[in-house]
């Protein structure tokens, strides 16, 4: 460590001359440390990232033993994400524009190399978005705003006037145009360096292998013919190449379902989910009949789509960073507009899964 600095997001509270508490406001973690005396507290609370180790030693008149102890303490505080090396050389190119994302990620890493690694992983990633509708549009712009530069967009749909209330970035002037073209235009207006591969098609049973194999992450936001169906098609292609995927469009009727994140062979796959959900939902349907209703139109609401999409985008950044663990592995959730609560249902990996179980076809 060259120039130790208390992280900006850390609040420090001195409880007494022997106890200092650090609260990591971004990640809501707490570190309480016993210290021998007030001088150590003063030293920590002076770490502003402008002075090197030797300068600090001189200022506090530390001998060789004390210096060694201090370095050990700094290493401890670094591991606990309380302090960080203030050397910013590595990301100066991106720093001006993306400093908020960089600062945010910084709270999840403790060592220098991991920081470079996480940001480079995001910057060099290639994300495939399937479906540019009520969730896909929001997710795509979120990722561009967080530093993703390369996209493959898959959708054959055109913009309709009834899309405008819930699909971000489409305007009255865009009605009748290909959704992909409009999303590409908008991405370029945000960042002209973004590259977009456009695939004007609806996915089908042949899956998306040719696109998945090149991808860092695939996000399913397609609900035609049904979300369950597109999820299986996409899941199968991704499992074949071990590509992480997120089911974002898993909302029910454009509502607030929060889909699962799949890290192949580390988490439950979409086939595990299907099997378990079928068991859970297994009810005696011989006795139940759904009445047919003519001429129906289903409601939808933009901000609810945006909730699902924002969570999918957060999970995407975690996966792309390869440093932050996603939260929606082995579970999916729902946001309830009445209670304004999120609830989750846990689904564990199925050892007998046809895809990723012991004898699964992808193992």
């Amino acid at each position: 460590m060259k120039k130790p600095k208390v992280r900006s997001s850390v609040s420090s509270v001195v409880h007494d001359i022997n106890t200092i508490e650090f609260f990591l406001t971004n990640t809501r973690r707490q570190v309480i440390m016993k210290v021998p005396n007030q001088n150590v507290i003063n030293l920590i609370l002076s770490l502003d990232g402008t002075r090197g180790i030797d300068e600090i030693c001189q200022e506090y008149e530390l001998d060789i033993l004390a210096k060694k102890n201090m370095i050990n303490m700094l290493k401890f505080l670094e591991r606990k994400n309380v302090i960080i090396d203030a050397d910013k050389e590595w990301y100066k190119e991106d720093y001006q524009r993306f400093r908020r994302v960089l600062n945010f990620i910084e709270d999840y890493v403790s060592v220098y190399d991991e920081k470079i690694h996480a940001w480079n992983n995001i910057r060099s990633s290639h994300v495939v978005i399937v479906g540019l509708g009520a969730v896909g549009t929001w997710v795509t712009y979120q990722l561009a705003q967080s530093g993703v530069k390369k996209f493959t967009l898959i959708d054959a749909d055109i913009v309709e006037i009834t899309n405008l209330h819930r699909q971000i970035g489409f305007t009255l002037d865009d009605v009748g145009e290909n959704k992909i073209d409009i999303v590409q235009r908008n991405l370029h207006e945000i960042d002209s360096e973004i590259s977009v591969e456009k695939v004007y098609k609806y996915i089908n049973e042949s899956g998306i292998e040719e696109f998945a194999k090149e991808a860092s992450l695939v996000i399913n936001c397609a609900d035609k013919p049904t979300v369950d169906q597109t999820t299986l098609w996409i899941g199968e292609s991704c499992m074949k190449y071990g590509v992480p995927h997120i089911i974002a469009g898993g909302y029910n009727l454009h509502l607030s379902l929060i889909g699962q994140t799949i890290l192949p062979f580390q988490s439950a796959c979409v086939k595990c989910f299907e099997t378990k959900l079928n068991e859970i939902n297994k009810i005696d349907i011989s006795n139940i009949r759904k009445l047919h209703i003519e001429n129906r139109k289903i409601g939808s609401f933009g901000p609810l789509c945006a909730i699902s999409a924002s969570i999918a985008a957060m999970e995407a950044i975690k996966v792309l960073s390869k440093v932050i663990l996603p939260a929606n592995i082995n579970r999916r959730g729902e946001f309830d507009i009445y209670s304004m609560n999120i609830s989750y249902m846990d689904i564990s990996h199925d050892d007998n899964c046809e895809w990723c179980g012991v004898n699964g076809k992808f193992c």
Binding site: V13, R28, F98, Q145, I293, I298, A313
Partner: protein
């Protein structure tokens, strides 16, 4: 009163299941509510005939053909009345929207209006809801990350009148925060960038712009008087101060408002809806925190310019903003009954994707809102 020429339809977003021979289960898809009741064979057959096209007379004829018996039309009316009361069917009148919204709005917001229909029984209230949204005047203090998202989402829902307050200029680093960010906007006032973006969403939008920061001296009484609903996301100089100033003025004018963003918005704070006389006001919150944090006395941070090092993702602001917009639309459009509203601020955690709510209660002795009596909007 039901007339024999009336046409009914099953409300959009409803699934009807028949369990066994005589239990009807009604599933309201948008809100996930379910109700069950007993129904005889006649009622089941009748429901199957309701298609939004046949009049009651037509239904009578069709039923008579099926069961080969003469049916008393009053029996049909009786069942229909019950189904109306349970919110399962509505009268399908043509052009009923035209007293509330334009044909253009009907077309554009059709799916959203159907969504409202699941909250609001009857034929016209969903259109009234859309009209309320279109006619409201929304004042937003602070048009940065969260404020920009809120304005954008409200415009997408149909809000047409905005008063916007912000003195800032778009910077290149705003790429990571503002939905209205475009490379070409760097250097221009945020309000102009946002205005350009909102005008594309809806050319009919009217925007009054105040290119200024809120300071303790800023006079806000008149501008709040012009607005129906007020949103604060202004975190300069400090969200606590701007919120106190705004909330006190709104309470004295008995106007509902939303305190969004700021604090730990990068942690996706949900903010709070404040309804005078019903929910805690900003002073109630301030007293709560004063008590809750009385032992929390952080030392000065060694890094001087640490505001430049604040982290956050645009998706976190999007979550905060979308949460706020859901509550604001529910309030403005009257989608839910707010009499028993008890939600206080929540905190969304990026790590676990959970929301934890604070338990803040309204202080009946609050010097700002204690004497205010809630009036239904």
């Amino acid at each position: 009163m039901i007339n024999q020429t009336d046409i009914y339809k099953i409300r959009d977003g409803i699934d009807v299941y028949l369990i066994g021979e005589e239990i009807l289960q009604i599933y309201f898809m948008n809100t996930r509510k379910q109700i069950q009741f007993k129904a005889n064979k006649f009622t089941v057959l009748l429901i199957e005939c309701i298609d939004g096209k046949k009049s009651i007379l037509d239904i009578k004829k069709k039923l008579e053909e099926r069961i080969e018996k003469i049916i008393d039309i009053d029996a049909i009316k009786q069942v229909l009345l019950l189904l109306v009361q349970k919110g399962i069917i509505v009268e399908n009148k043509q052009n009923v929207h035209s007293s509330y919204i334009s044909d253009e709005s009907k077309e554009r917001y059709d799916r959203q209006i159907n969504f409202f229909g699941d909250f609001l029984p009857g034929v016209v209230r969903k259109y009234e809801a859309q009209r309320e949204i279109e006619n409201s005047c929304i004042l937003i203090f602070g048009c940065g990350a969260v404020g920009g998202w809120i304005a954008t989402e409200l415009a997408m829902c149909g809000v047409r009148n905005f008063i916007l307050f912000d003195g800032d200029v778009v910077e290149k680093s705003d790429i990571t925060r503002h939905i209205y960010y475009k490379e070409e906007f760097a250097g221009i006032p945020k309000l102009d960038a946002l205005e350009a973006s909102l005008a594309k969403i809806n050319p009919k939008i009217n925007i009054t712009k105040y290119y200024q920061y809120l300071t303790p001296e800023t006079l806000i009484t008149n501008v709040i008087d012009k607005a129906d609903f007020i949103i604060n996301t202004a975190d300069e100089p400090y969200i606590g101060h701007t919120s106190l100033k705004i909330s006190r003025e709104c309470i004295s004018q008995k106007k509902a408002h939303y305190i969004a963003g700021g604090f730990d918005a990068h942690l996706a704070s949900t903010g709070e809806l404040i309804i005078p006389g019903l929910t805690p006001c900003v002073d109630c919150y301030a007293d709560y925190f004063k008590e809750a944090l009385k032992d929390w006395k952080p030392s000065p941070h060694p890094v001087k310019e640490r505001h430049l090092e604040i982290g956050g993702l645009s998706s976190m602001s999007l979550l905060s903003a979308s949460y706020a917009v859901i509550e604001i639309i529910k309030y403005i459009a009257g989608l839910t009954d707010f009499t028993n509203y008890s939600k206080s601020r929540g905190e969304f955690l990026f790590d676990t994707l959970d929301i934890n709510y604070l338990d803040v209660k309204r202080d009946e002795n609050c010097k700002t809102c204690g004497e205010i009596v809630y009036e239904k909007a």
